[in-house]
Symmetry: C2
């Protein structure tokens, strides 16, 4: 029988305790939404003040030659290290949506005679929208199948398989290696969106052709942090950026009138990256320095496994939507309940922050970098309290456009 | 005869003195590169610390419903006020290059039977690159003519006229109203890049169909600050975003699988904007609160006029490249000299920061918001010193990729 002491002991023995201690979390809050917006590493504020006061305020334009120029690539290499990508194949910048647009368009150009982009119905909405747009611009068509039908559908009419690794709602995880290999056997390219996995688990990036991901979830880069883009070494020389801007030029400051792409991953860039947001991301990533991604995944598996076990043992009326097999899931848990919205409102009043996704999923992120094991116990106990005392009946959901 | 006292008196009488006083500039530096990277408004550092510590650190995901959601549109409206655009027609986000890609692609879609994008050879390189890319994706072709040939070339084969208002090298300014009207008479659309004018002068935005611009030059939003996008009210309902992402959706958090664009300027958005960089821009724009743009232009004209007069009177061997008529120029001055690079290196050693552009232009930005009139005197005196004492012969240019 699990109890709170058990989880406190896990925290004491946590090999990531020193990482977890670096985060600032508000008093009285159990934060289970790191899969949506990672919390603040406490040192970031000081680091940003230095960027603003010294680099911008004192260095002015000169700071471009004192580190700003290299920033996007440096951040990319740190993220690359976390997803298993070699140096020089990952870069930070733009939004995840824009990054997916660029990589998908570039991939389509490499398979011009194939008419289909293949994705699945569990993909994140913005991915579906932008894949449809890329299809329209390229004369291809987007085909959307169920998540378990993807592998069987891959054939020689498929130019690009574009998928999100971990489903933002259910937490279901695709077998990245198996699908990538199936795509390659059929001569298709594969673009992965790692938004819901990078920073929480190891990635078989060597199997992927291209990948994109989000800087503000498990990487904790701050609200709207720049995205990242990966292109395999083999494909880099053939990568054509559909938004060819000066930042992707071989010599941006030669101010040439003709476009010649940079030889490396820089060719995926567009315009001047948002240095202050990029500096926040760089600073935030320091918490992962020297941390094997394997440890993140091990802790994530335990957090998720314990959460599921406590739901099974201590709650009634919730349906577990997340797969039960660890190898089939990411780092968040989704529970279905007809009163999801009211229950989450009550939980937030109790200090437990998760979120809801239509139509009635409660999502609980369990981010290995900052989560404490007692968070699992405290969250499930809060759900019990909300249900046993009918607190959800009187709860008022936070209002606003963002859920 | 002008002397330094004359300029000190101008500073004492400057109606923008209170604005100028809000900027932090390093001791001993005369900064004439605000046309490339605006300096730091002193209050921004504190404002950003609040965003990081309170909004991100304490508010976490809840801050999206406490202001972050509206931020891009609020910043857009402030910039809109400065360029004469009505509320709800300007929004901040992405890079200038991406913004130009989106607007040009949307404009091309509205003139599908016309084969030409028209621009001029003085356009900024990234604009040329991305216009070429947009042409390629749309089956149009890009035609590049001399700056003074644009108006005469506009005809009924031209889908889009895409120009930069003020030439980044020469400072030559297009007649935005006249060219826009010529375009409209021919049934063409016109997209203006205001990167080198917004924040320094009034803009006849009512004549434009769409416009984009830079947040980090005369708007002082910090390195890589988000760009802005303007779409006229008439065209907004017909604007199709080529990179349709969730942030441009009518209901982003309904997580619908089909894309329905937002009714207003939000439809030009792509993904989650970089909130921290956006917050820096919003904070920086406070220096313009209550400042009529007319005063910025008046001061700019005087600074530029005085600079040109002092060059005429006190320097030999420099060729003025910037037009002599105030209505034909922006807010920076370009001088041509075969030793431009060495001279600028010497000037930077003397504490006067401008920059050079190929092949041998010295650029001096005269940004009305933060510039003091004595900067004009001090800069020209420094050039005299550098030339009279041959300081340029021994000067070492700062090394690095950014010039």
């Amino acid at each position: 029988m699990l109890d709170r002491d058990h989880f406190e002991r896990l925290d004491l023995d946590d090999p990531l305790a020193a990482v977890t201690a670096r985060f600032h979390l508000p008093d009285g809050v159990v934060y289970l939404d790191g899969n949506s917006l990672g919390p603040l590493p406490a040192h970031v504020s000081r680091a940003l003040a230095r960027v603003v006061d010294e680099e911008w305020g004192e260095g002015l334009i000169r700071s471009w030659n004192r580190g700003w120029w290299e920033l996007a690539g440096e951040v990319g290499d740190v993220i690359g290290g976390m997803i298993g990508a070699p140096a020089g194949t990952v870069i930070a910048g733009d939004t995840t949506t824009a990054a997916l647009f660029k990589t998908t368009m570039a991939a389509l150009r490499l398979r011009p005679s194939r008419p289909v982009i293949l994705t699945d119905s569990g993909n994140f909405p913005t991915d579906l929208y932008v894949l449809e747009a890329a299809a329209g611009l390229s004369g291809a068509s987007l085909e959307v199948v169920g998540p378990h039908e993807v592998e069987g559908r891959i054939g020689d009419d498929v130019a690009v398989v574009a998928l999100t690794h971990v489903d933002y709602r259910t937490g279901r995880r695709h077998d990245l290696a198996a699908i990538s290999e199936a795509a390659h056997r059929a001569g298709s390219l594969v673009v992965w969106d790692l938004s819901h996995s990078a920073g929480a688990m190891e990635i078989d990036i060597a199997c992927a052709d291209m990948a994109v991901g989000c800087g503000y979830k498990y990487l904790n880069g701050g609200p709207g942090a720049p995205a990242f883009t990966y292109v395999s070494r083999d494909l880099l020389p053939e990568f054509t950026n559909p938004i060819s801007g000066w930042w992707g030029h071989r010599e941006p400051f030669a101010m040439r009138t003709d476009f010649e792409p940079a030889p490396g991953i820089e060719r995926t860039q567009v315009g001047t990256p948002p240095v202050i947001s990029l500096a926040a991301l760089r600073s935030a990533l320091e918490v992962f320095e020297g941390v094997p991604t394997r440890l993140l995944r091990e802790k994530s598996e335990r957090l998720v496994g314990d959460f599921v076990r406590l739901v099974d043992e201590r709650l009634d009326g919730f349906q577990l939507v997340t797969p039960r097999r660890p190898e089939e899931r990411g780092s968040h848990v989704a529970l279905s309940h007809p009163r999801a919205r009211e229950i989450m409102a009550a939980l937030i009043s109790e200090g437990v922050i998760g979120d809801v996704r239509p139509p009635h999923l409660l999502r609980f992120g369990l981010a290995p970098a900052f989560q404490r094991h007692v968070d699992v116990w405290d969250a499930v106990e809060a759900i019990r309290r909300v249900m046993d005392n009918d607190l959800w009946r009187s709860a008022v959901a936070p209002s606003g456009p963002v859920t």
